[in-house]
Symmetry: C2
Subunit: 140 residues, 2 copies
């Protein structure tokens, strides 16, 4: 039945989301969004918090909280931009640079296992379907 089917899809996405996050954290020892923050800081050398918010896709307040905690754990260094004091710039600390190697490997392992058995075509197809659902929601 069509209704059961769409409810099923909805539940599956919610459930998968939960599985993804908890499995990611179990495998890497760090939450997915915090890893995403570190990942982008690593790739950007130095980046502003507002740019991070756009890349990671979470609220600026959450970005600040994550970074302050990572700063406290000596993973990143933050400084106010001399060019514009509104901007807080972030880069990996020495300790952070050392730990990012392991974290990236674990992250990659997780992502590889997640898509195991999927061909490029299937991933594109899945991506397209998820995009269509998102587009449908915009109409509401």
């Amino acid at each position: 039945m069509s209704h059961i089917s769409s409810e099923e899809t909805f539940k599956q996405i919610l459930d998968l989301h939960h599985q993804l996050l908890s499995t990611f954290e179990r495998c890497t020892g760090i939450s997915a969004s915090r890893m995403q923050v570190l990942f982008h800081v690593y790739h950007s050398k130095e980046i502003s918090q507002t740019a991070l918010k756009k890349l990671v896709g979470i609220d600026h307040a959450a970005i600040t909280r994550h970074l302050k905690q990572l700063e406290g754990e000596n993973m990143v260094i933050r400084r106010t931009s001399p060019e514009d004091n509104r901007f807080t710039l972030v880069k990996l600390s020495e300790n952070g640079r050392q730990q990012i190697e392991t974290l990236n490997k674990e992250r990659e392992q997780f992502l590889n296992q997640m898509q195991l058995g999927f061909g490029e075509q299937e991933l594109k197809q899945l991506s397209a379907m998820l995009q269509r659902i998102k587009h449908n929601l915009v109409q509401l």
Copy 2:
């Protein structure tokens, strides 16, 4: 690139999850999990909290919290089972029965819009893919 692709899928699921929950709440005025609780209570006439936890797929502590709030809003009635005092049974209140009609319509509308343009075959295919990803995670 394969790695970019799998990261993309991951981000898409996280993003879609967020869009689904916030759009659902905007359309119905109630959170998705709370609606799920009401939906199952409605369909079961009377049900235990522990059965609800299994159907809705969230923690027993969260179930208790949702139900106590719904009880406070006069949506449900809870009682200890005379057969076994460990079980708390839940059913819709009179007020709840009246409101569930509207909520169900809004929920159905949301689900119909979510899957607009999807054929049965495509939904099955999407479902299968999400299932495969979940299965992959179990291996970690």
